[in-house]
């Protein structure tokens, strides 16, 4: 019999994982919404961000907040560069073509990380202060968990406000519904796409930081599998729908942790497979995901 404290701790881990997936899934979702491009390199942006943070902290002694900011700026640059070099020339190509291109970019980034930083795992320890736990009722929460929950909530609220209240945000929603009509309004699609990549890449670094803190290590393919899971989250929620991506992320995060916590230890290795199976099952019953609307006129 599992006790409630154990269950609560799994739930909290699940919520934390869900928060991280949510931040990554948003990046997939806004880019897909506009370009119908599944950007598999998105997970690797996460990894790049973590390496930059590690380098800044270990070799230059930069404090975490500054390291995070610099890494976000750098990774946004990388994201924009990838968009410009790998995806923009394929703007009129089929979804399959851009998909293959994004897998190639992902492989390229992982190989470059291997060349620069070696394939070795490197320790990534969050400072003591972030790891101390606080007892609130029956649950134990570490400082980093509290920061994760609060910052995820803040990012989601800000993103919602940007999308609904600003000129560029409204244009992003218009583009994801009908790119051609948006162009007829005078929207510069490249600028909207760049905004989507910038937001996605920036958020990916935050997620990477939280993830590496959780794993306590960084390696060149760190972001790839979590990236795939965040993609699953976006698909489960209905790719292109932001609320859907966030909901999907929490469903996956919690389901994954419950699976890992409840099955015999010999089976915990299958937690990744479990997530992908979950996606397949959802898609069997809801091909457009939980919140995915039907497709409207495109191109």
């Amino acid at each position: 019999m599992i006790n409630s404290a154990y269950f609560m701790s799994m739930l909290i881990s699940g919520l934390k994982l869900g928060s991280i997936y949510a931040i990554v899934a948003i990046g997939y979702s806004i880019v897909y919404g506009i370009l119908r491009l599944i950007n598999f390199a998105h997970g690797d942006i996460m990894t790049i961000g973590v390496y930059i943070i590690l380098m800044l902290m270990n070799q230059a002694g930069v404090p975490i907040p500054a390291a995070l900011l610099i890494s976000v700026a750098f990774s946004v640059g990388v994201g924009l560069l990838i968009e410009r070099l790998a995806y923009r020339p394929l703007r009129d190509a089929s979804e399959e073509t851009t998909l293959i291109s994004s897998l190639a970019v992902s492989a390229l980034l992982q190989n470059m990380l291997q060349m620069v930083f070696s394939a070795q795992r490197q320790p990534f320890m969050l400072p003591e202060a972030l790891r101390t736990t606080h007892k609130i009722g029956i649950v134990n929460l570490s400082t980093i968990n509290i920061i994760t929950f609060i910052s995820t909530a803040i990012f989601l609220v800000i993103l919602h406000l940007v999308l609904t209240k600003t000129r560029i945000g409204t244009a992003m929603r218009a583009c994801s519904e009908n790119l051609r009509a948006a162009r007829l309004m005078g929207v510069n699609v490249n600028r909207v796409v760049m905004t989507a990549f910038a937001i996605g890449s920036g958020l990916a670094v935050i997620a990477g930081f939280l993830l590496a803190g959780e794993y306590k290590t960084v390696y060149p393919s760190l972001g790839f599998v979590p990236g795939l899971k965040a993609f699953c989250a976006a698909v489960i929620g209905g790719i292109g729908s932001l609320g859907g991506a966030v909901t999907g992320a929490f469903i996956i995060g919690i389901a994954e942790m419950l699976f890992a916590g409840l099955v015999p230890t010999t089976m915990t290795a299958y937690r990744d497979a479990f997530v992908f199976l979950l996606m397949v099952i959802v898609l069997l019953f809801r091909p457009n995901g939980l919140f995915g609307g039907s497709e409207t006129a495109r191109s």
């Binding site: 409204t170 218009a174 519904e177 009908n178 051609r180 009509a181 948006a182 162009r183 929207v187 510069n188």
Partner: protein, 236 residues
């Protein structure tokens, strides 16, 4: 104001527009009539910069706009109301209007245009907060026109604005176009509804399978035997 010279549009190996030329002067209202698949929308897409031209030259307001971005064409004051309305169904009516003013950054100006558009289409005022997908077909067409007017265009391109509308709504749409004409906005309207289009326009072109086969004053074309037979359903 708008001059198209030897425009060719190709999809793969197939030419949809096979070297057409036309000219529309400032303040004129001109119609282009043609059957399904004649290449009307392809021509308009090329003018608005949505698709590449294979050859030819398009000039608007003394600017060569051939091959420049769709956003720059809108900024120059040439705005299209696309076939099938293409409003943003998931955005509210008000957000649709604001998207129409996307190239304009002057807030006061946007508010003035919005007030003007809502005066012209009072139904949109009632529905301002509603998502645009809930509007009827006729209301959506009003929104599409209103949205295009939000940027105070110098010239309006309309692609089959009466498509799929009831006779009453069609009449209303043409009433609106007449109003725009009276305000001195240059209007280029594509239609299959030849009678209403010829009634409205000063001049008209007839387009068949990618080429212009006939042009002239509307009052002449409306009596032309060939036009009567092909587009006006015999006697009217």
């Amino acid at each position: 104001m708008l001059e198209i010279k030897d425009l060719v549009v190709r999809y793969g190996g197939i030419s949809a527009v096979k070297g057409i030329s036309l000219e529309i002067a400032e303040g004129e209202t001109v119609a282009l009539i043609g059957a399904n698949g004649a290449g009307k929308s392809s021509m308009l897409h090329a003018v608005s910069g949505l698709i590449k031209t294979a050859s030819g030259k398009i000039t608007f307001d003394r600017h060569d706009i051939t091959g420049i971005g769709a956003d720059r064409i809108v900024s120059l004051g040439l705005v299209q109301v696309p076939e099938g309305r293409q409003i943003f169904t998931r955005l509210s009516v008000d957000e649709n209007l604001r998207m129409g003013a996307y190239v304009n950054r002057d807030k006061a100006d946007i508010e003035r245009n919005r007030a003007r558009v809502l005066d012209l289409f009072p139904i949109l005022k009632e529905r301002a907060k509603q998502s645009a997908g809930t509007l009827s077909g006729g209301e959506q067409q009003m929104l599409a026109i209103g949205r295009a007017l939000m940027s105070s265009p110098k010239m309006l391109l309309l692609d089959e604005p009466s498509m799929g509308l009831s006779p009453i709504m069609t009449e209303e749409v043409f009433g609106v176009l007449r109003g725009l004409k009276d305000q001195g906005i240059t209007v280029f309207v594509i239609e299959q509804n030849a009678y209403d289009a010829l009634e409205l326009a000063d001049r008209a072109y007839i387009m068949e399978t990618g080429t212009i086969t006939l042009e002239g004053k509307s009052s002449d074309l409306i009596r032309d035997e060939r036009v009567k037979a092909a587009y006006l359903g015999g006697d009217i």
